[in-house]
Each structure stands twice: as structure tokens, then as C-alpha cells.
Amino acid sequence: METEAPSMENPKISAYYQTRLAHFGVVSTEWLAQAQSATNPNPPLPSSSTNSHTDKDTNFSVIDEFNRWRNHPDLAEAVAAIRALAAVISASKASTMMQLEIELKNASDTLKAWDTTSISLTAASDLFMRYVTRTSALEFEDFNSAKARLIERADKFGEISYKARKIIGMLSQDFIFDGCTILVHGFSRVVFEVLKLAAHNKKRFRVFCTEGRPDRTGLRLSNDLAKLDVPVKLVIDSAVAYTMDEVDMVLVGADGVVESGGIINMMGTYQIALVAKSMNKPVYVAAESYKFARHYPLDQKDLAPALRPVDFGVPIPSKVEVECSARDYTPPQYLTLLFTDLGVLTPSVVSDELIQLYL
């Protein structure tokens, strides 16, 4: 936990990436520096501190709850947020529906403020709010039963989100055939789940992992896959076009799925999608449905920036600029299908789902 605290001192660095760094301790120079600075007692996260102050009287801090859930490395951040919000409802001492909704909104805003760059967090919070409050039962029942209903829906949403990965894994099995070669970019736990299940089902396939600089996701993924006895080949990011001939499909996860049907994912995804499209290879995205966000970027610069310092291993002179954006936007025309817990969908369905939920 301590390693997250310094992230708030440098708000430009996405907390999301800080977390992942913490969970998957690949030692980097920054990590070392942060670990050293962590020896100082750090002030608690500013947002959570204000939150805990205001919540002192209620003895409940949504951020604490969130962090408690988030510690588990397997749990997606968004699911942790959903669970935390569900806990807010249970622990709430409100006596009217309006009050409860206001509390929920405040909690949701706090969570979003914790990491403004995380799309899935924002999307999941918003979807949770819509899903939970969109029940007609709220009008008629007395408060306690309405609250129980809300808790029920919240838990259900949490369950769905938690199980989303398994559902996606099952749905994608049909697309992995014997003898296929899959190109994977970025370490998405959903994608890993898909591959794990395929290996478990005794499918014969091999995986090309991109190195994934600067996160070195490729290294981690290849480690995990090797443990599953899946043939893995590491390719550096520049060699994607070179190896694209041998690849049968590209499989990536997503940080967020936007309204146009495109995805926001780790830097390099757009590049790979472009190459795949020009060589007629399908690009599949495995993403849970709570990642559907109401953004609509028109080009790369339309995203909210999420910065990730790049470590080149050697010191860079100060007048040289470094592009340290951590993610890019892949437009929907380069994607073939989305594997979601709602089913296997085409990119145009995202807007359909969002309209139905929000209108």
C-alpha cells in the first residue's frame, strides 16, 4: 500500500500503472526510487483523507474498502470499486432513498477522483450507479426493502463483474483452433484467463508475446504461459509486422471500450491493429462489459492523458522530450470482434448497449 501513496504526490503518473507495478514486482529503477522514498511516512492519499474525515462520523471510508479489495492482485480494479460501492450501500445509515443515492454518488466521485485516468474505474462506477438505481422497485417499496433490493442488485452486479472473466474465457474457446498462432499484446488478466482455459482444454496453439516496453508485460506473460506449457515466443515491439505473416489472430484486452466501439489499451495496440488489418488478420478484444464507457475519442489526442515514465536504462539529457503516454486509442474499424460477458459482439453493439442503459 505504501508504494501507492507516493503516486499521489506526482499526480501525473497514472495510479493504475503504479498499482500494477506494485502487484507484479518487476524491479525497475523507478520502483526502487519509490521504495526508497517510501521509507518516509507518507501522508495518506489526499482524496481518501478528506473522504475519511467527512466519513468519520459514519465510520466508513469507501477508499479504505476499495483498497482492501484491490490488494488482491487478481481482482480487477473496477470490480474492487464495484464491491466497495456495494459495501457503501450496506453500511449506509441513510434513511431515505435520496440520501442513499447522494451517498452513493459521493462515494463514486471519490473513487473516480482517486485515479482520474482510469477509464474502467469511471465506467464501472457509472454503470454500477445506473444498474443499481434503474429498478422500478425503488418507487414503491418502503425504504428498507428498497435498500435490500439495491444491495441485491449491487451484489449481483459485483458477481457478474467478478465472473466476467470466466464467461469471456468460455466464449472465446471457439475462436482458438488447433495449430493456431496468437499474437498477444499487454498483460491483460482476461486474455490470460482465455489462454489458460484453452491450455487447460488441451488445445494446441502457440503464442507470440510482444515485449511490451516499458511495462515489460511480455516478460511477465511469457513467464506465466511457460508455466502452463504453452509454446511462447517473445518478439520485440518493432518485430510485429515482421512476424504478422505467421500469426492467425491478435488477442488483446482493453482498459476501456468507448462508445464508438473502439478500445483504449496499452500503447502499441493501435499499431498492431493497423498492421493486422492491412494483412487481413482478425483482431479480437477481450473486455468485460463494465468497461463500456461513454467517451468518444475522435483521434489519439482526444484521450485524457495517462502518463507513464519510461525508463531507458541510461540517463536522458534534459532537453530531449520523451513521449510517455501510456495508452492509445484503436478505432473500431480495425477491430473484428469483442469478447464480452454479454456475448461475442461487433464493435457497433457497444453504443447500442450504452444507449439502452442510459436512455
Binding site: 464508438s260 475522435l298 457497433s348 447500442d352 444507449i355
Partner: protein
């Protein structure tokens, strides 16, 4: 398209052969060869109708709605003397209120195996009025509610058939001479069905379905079958006979222009500017058309009001006035009569200038609101309710929607942007002004095109507010596109397959933007969405005045085309709209948020559902 097709009468899908089943004998009449399937001579009722149809042509369009039911009730009953086969044929008097004059329609089964007459929907307004005045006068004003009261007919049949018999014989003789006017057209409402409006198909289908129900059950199956085969009911203007019919009914006397473009013969093309003085003179004489509606029609005709939102709002406000002054005639129900009256106004407006798709949606909304009026409301309550509905529609769907669109779209404008816009769209103008108010630093490129040069007015308004603008002609759009970061376009309508139907030239600008990877943002209110699908700009469009192409204002020396009409092989084409494929559109900003072009049918589905709740 090939050269002018032969008159379509034979294969005309609107032709309905009704009655007892023998196909019509093509060589019935010597006179008119245009349509072999004409009403055969021994059809007495047709004579009867026919005799009266000329007088019915003269009164202005509004009258028909008034006397339709009357004529309906009157005519059919008398027309069958005992010798005729007892099975009744009914004259279908349909004609949704607006269309004048009338074409014949008669369909009656014949006892003797005489060729069957065709059914046409007729609005034979005054024809039978003097035949049965005592009954008809009070019945006037039924509008499109042509209910056939079979029992009534039967009883009347016996009453007056003697007097009718001799008249019938007389009319028969005259009928033979008047073959020309008696073409059976599918619907008399063909004049209304020009640019496919959402109102029109339901209207027409209503007419034909009422027609179907009016006929005796015998004819019903064939009618319904044929209705299924009937293509989308838009009047095709290359069918000469129908054009003539429409002209006879018309209030506004258009003269067809010379040298019509072959590819667009299915669209109306008239000489512009010739009717305005004429109509202005008639302003105080046309009672059936409410003065506000008349005024709006004239404004359309002269081009004073242009632009989708402006036209729609003007029309709705005119309807508000008309409803305010409306009183239900005795013996009529408000719902039906008012619907018919609105339909007559609509057809008048169409004659002035074809409706845009958004206007069609607004009319459909109004008619559904009228239809949903509870019967328990008094007349004044209904009128106030309708007026407030219209007010709410204008406010929610246009004014408020524009505000929402502006708020969404300004988030897409960043500092340092170069924004390109084409033509003059009210939504885009509001967006640019709002972004400027918010202090964003950007430049605007206004692209314009002849002959309308609407961009000049937009440019003037933007420069007044202090925006940095560049003005150029559409020829230069590929030249400047590399500097542009965003393209904002307005739309007259967005169709279900994501096609954007907008002013001519929009498609070219969007295509060039796509080629340069510049995102194209289309701003359109949700009430302009339509479930129609259009694949090209040809099958449905509007033709403007070709003369403006040959003249360049301020350049008297450019007069090479002054005598263009005399050249046999020269045709000038002035298209008003074009269709932009959905591939070129990146995002559509509506009052429902920012959606991709593939989600338009979703919004249409949700939107129409919401209308039910209103």
C-alpha cells in the same frame, strides 16, 4: 436511366382492378390510349362521377376534405339500379383531404361479365353534391374518414334510383367522351406522395385500407394483396398521367420546366418564380387554406424561409394558428376532420415546396397527437392540448435539443483547432459561437458553393462575433483539407443505415475529409432521424430552379447559357440534397449524446417508443 419510358399505365402498380375478376378489356375506349385499363363504359357510376368531376377540379384543394364523405355516401348507393348485379360496388372515395379534383374511381362489379372497373381512390368532391344535396350538405367535412355505411347506402339505393337511372344514361354517353380524365390511378393522393415523408405512407395506406374496407369483402383480399405489391408510395413524376391529375388538383399552378434532366424525371421540376404573384393575389380568396399556412407556403415558394429547423418551426407555428382558429363542423368528429384539414394544408405546402424529412416527422407527430386525443375532451380543451403539444415539440425537440448538441459538441473542439464547415447549418453555427464564448482558440474555414452561396451569411454572422474565418469555394476543399483538424457538418436528416442526407456538396466535403483522415462530425437533432434507407442521391431528392445555374450574380458578362432552354440536348441540373455514406462520418452528435453512425436505428427505435409515451 434510359430514355423516356413508355407510359406506365399497363404496368402501373397503383392500378387496382377491383370487382369481379375479369381482367379489363384493353380496347374499351377509342379516345385515350394512355391507359388501356380504363373504366369501361357501361359503368354507370363512373359516368355519374365523371360528370361531376370537372366541377370538382376547380375548387381549391381544401374543399375536398369537406365534401368527401358526402359524395361517398351519396354516390354509391344510387348507382346501382336493380338490373345491375346486386353486389354492390362502392365508389371509393378516398383522397386524403388535400388533393383536389379528382379522379375517378369507380369500381363496381358487373353483372354481365363486363370488364371490371378499376378502383381508384377518388376525392370526388362536389360531384355528387348536387345529386344528393339534401343529404350531402350536412355530410360535408368528413375528410378522410370515408366510412362506408353500407346499410345507409343500401337504403338510399332504393330511394332515388329512378332519378339516377336517366342521369346515368346521360353520363355514360359523356363518359365515353371523357376517357382521358378517367385514368385509374392508384391513389389520388399521389400528388402528396412526392418526397417520401413519413406521413405519407401511413396516410396513403390509411386511404387504401379505408378504401379496402369500404369495398365489399369480395374485393378486400385482392386489394390487400395489391397493396403489398405496391412499392413505396412516392409519386413518380415521369408518369405523365399522374402528373396531369396532380396538376388539376393543385392550388399552385406550376408549369413544368423545359429540358428536364433524364435521370431525374421521377422528381418534379417546375419553372420557378412564375406562381408567386398569382398566389399572392389569391391570398384572400383561399379560405380552405388557413392564412398562416398560406403565408408559410408562400415563404417556402419564394425561398424566404430555408433551412431545416426554420422551415419546420414555421410550419408548426402555422399549424398552431390554424388549430387555434379551427372549429369542428357540425356532425363531424374533431379527430378525423382536423386530421384531414392538416393533410390538406400539408399538400398545399408540398405544392409550394416539397417537404423535408424532418418536416414529415413533425407532421407525423402532430397527427399521432391528434389521433390520441381522448374523446372525452371538449373541443377547446383538445385544441389547447394540441397547441401545447406543438409548443412542447418545438421546445424539446428543436430548441432544447440544439442546446444539448452544442454542449456535447464543444467538448470536441480544442485550442488550436482548424474547423471546417460547409454551407450554413444552424446547429454548427451555434456550436462555433458557443465555443468562441467559452474562450477556445480556433479558426474556422467556411466552404461555400454555388448557386445558393449560403455560406456567405454564415460567414458574416461569425465574423461579426469575432471569430477568425477563412472563406473558400468547394473547388478548393481538397486544397485546404490538409490544414483542417475537424469537419463539422449539419444534416437535413440521418437515415437508418447511417447515411446523412444533407445539402448538396456535403458528401464531397465528407469524402475529402475522410481521405485526409480528418474526423467528420455531423450535428443533427434526433427528430430528424428517419427509418428509411437510401443508397444514392438519385432515387429521392429535390430539384431546384435550373436558371440560377446559368446566371452568375454580379457577372453580367457570363451569359453563355442565357438561351440554354432552346438547346435540345442541354439540361441544367440543380440538385438540392445529397446522401453521404456512413463510412465518411465519424460521429453524430444528437440530443441523445454522441453516437456512431451505426447506432442511428437504435435511436430511431428508442425515439419512436418514447413518442408513444408522450
Amino acid at each position: 436511366m434510359d430514355a423516356r419510358r413508355p407510359p406506365r399505365a399497363v404496368i402501373d402498380p397503383k392500378v387496382r382492378t377491383v370487382g369481379f375478376f375479369t381482367p379489363p378489356d384493353p380496347i374499351q375506349f377509342d379516345s385515350n390510349s394512355l391507359s388501356p385499363v380504363m373504366i369501361p363504359p357501361p359503368c354507370h357510376s363512373s359516368e355519374n362521377l365523371d360528370l361531376h368531376s370537372p366541377p370538382s377540379v376547380t375548387p381549391p384543394s381544401g374543399d375536398e376534405s369537406v365534401s368527401v364523405t358526402g359524395s361517398y355516401n351519396g354516390s354509391s348507393s344510387e348507382l346501382f339500379p336493380a338490373p345491375m348485379s346486386p353486389a354492390l360496388s362502392q365508389k371509393i372515395v378516398a383522397g386524403d383531404g388535400g388533393v383536389g379534383g379528382g379522379i375517378v374511381a369507380s369500381s363496381f362489379p358487373r353483372g354481365g361479365g363486363v370488364p371490371v372497373c378499376k378502383l381508384t381512390t377518388v376525392s370526388v368532391v362536389n360531384t355528387d353534391s348536387f345529386a344528393f344535396d339534401e343529404r350531402d350538405k350536412p355530410n360535408k367535412g368528413g375528410g378522410s374518414s370515408m366510412e362506408v355505411k353500407d346499410q345507409a347506402m343500401n337504403s338510399k339505393q332504393k330511394n332515388e334510383k329512378s332519378s339516377k337511372a336517366e342521369r346515368r344514361a346521360l353520363q355514360e354517353a359523356q363518359r365515353a367522351a371523357k376517357a382521358e380524365g378517367n385514368k385509374a390511378t392508384g391513389t389520388v393522393t399521389s400528388g402528396n406522395l412526392k418526397s417520401a415523408k413519413a406521413t405519407k405512407p401511413p396516410q396513403k395506406v390509411d386511404n387504401t385500407s379505408v378504401a379496402a374496407s369500404e369495398k365489399k369483402g369480395v374485393d378486400r383480399p385482392s386489394e390487400k394483396d395489391r397493396k403489398k405489391d405496391v412499392p413505396h408510395p412516392r409519386m413518380q413524376y415521369d408518369d405523365k398521367s399522374r402528373v396531369e391529375k396532380a396538376k388539376r388538383r393543385a392550388v399552385v399552378n406550376h408549369t413544368e420546366s423545359r429540358n428536364r434532366v433524364e435521370l431525374f424525371r421521377h422528381l418534379p421540376q417546375y419553372e420557378h418564380g412564375s406562381q408567386l404573384p398569382d398566389l399572392e393575389a389569391k391570398f384572400f380568396q383561399l379560405e380552405p387554406v388557413h392564412p398562416s399556412v398560406y403565408k408559410v407556403g408562400l415563404q417556402y415558394l419564394s425561398g424566404d424561409i430555408s433551412g431545416g429547423n426554420a422551415r419546420c418551426i414555421a410550419m408548426l407555428q402555422a399549424f398552431q394558428d390554424a388549430i387555434k382558429d379551427y372549429t369542428v363542423p357540425p356532425e363531424k368528429t374533431l379527430v378525423r376532420d382536423l386530421t384531414a384539414k392538416i393533410s390538406s394544408y400539408v399538400s398545399f405546402l408540398i405544392e409550394c415546396r416539397p417537404l423535408s424529412i424532418s418536416m414529415g416527422n413533425a407532421i407525423r407527430f402532430l397527427k399521432s397527437q391528434i389521433a390520441k386525443l381522448p374523446l372525452t375532451l371538449s373541443e377547446s380543451e383538445s385544441k389547447t392540448s394540441l397547441q401545447s403539444d406543438i409548443e412542447r415539440f418545438i421546445y424539446e425537440k428543436i430548441i432544447l435539443a440544439d442546446k444539448v448538441i452544442v454542449e456535447h459538441a464543444v467538448t470536441k473542439i480544442r485550442d488550436g483547432d482548424v474547423l471546417l464547415t460547409y454551407g450554413s447549418s444552424s446547429a454548427v453555427e451555434m456550436i462555433l459561437l458557443r465555443a468562441h464564448e467559452l474562450g477556445k482558440q480556433f479558426q474556422v474555414v467556411v466552404v461555400d458553393s454555388r448557386p445558393s452561396l449560403k455560406g456567405k451569411l454564415l460567414l458574416r454572422r461569425l465574423v461579426e462575433k469575432g471569430l477568425t474565418c477563412t472563406y473558400t469555394h468547394i473547388n478548393a476543399v481538397s486544397f485546404i483539407m490538409h490544414e483542417v483538424t475537424r469537419v463539422f457538418l449539419g444534416a437535413s436528416s440521418v437515415l437508418s443505415n447511417g447515411t446523412v442526407y444533407s445539402g448538396v456538396g456535403t458528401a464531397s466535403v465528407a469524402m475529402v475529409a475522410h481521405a485526409f483522415h480528418v474526423p467528420v462530425i455531423v450535428c443533427c437533432e434526433a427528430f430528424k432521424f428517419h427509418e428509411r434507407v437510401q443508397l444514392d442521391s438519385i432515387c429521392s431528392n429535390e430539384l431546384g430552379d435550373p436558371d440560377v445555374i446559368s446566371k452568375v450574380s454580379g457577372r453580367g458578362d457570363v451569359n453563355h447559357l442565357d438561351a440554354w432552354a432552346n438547346a435540345e440536348n442541354l439540361q441544367l441540373l440543380n440538385l438540392i440534397y445529397d446522401a453521404t455514406p456512413s463510412d465518411y462520418v465519424s460521429i453524430i452528435v444528437t440530443d441523445y449524446g454522441m453516437i456512431p453512425p451505426t447506432s442511428v436505428p437504435v435511436v430511431v427505435r428508442e425515439y419512436s417508443r418514447e413518442q408513444v409515451w408522450i
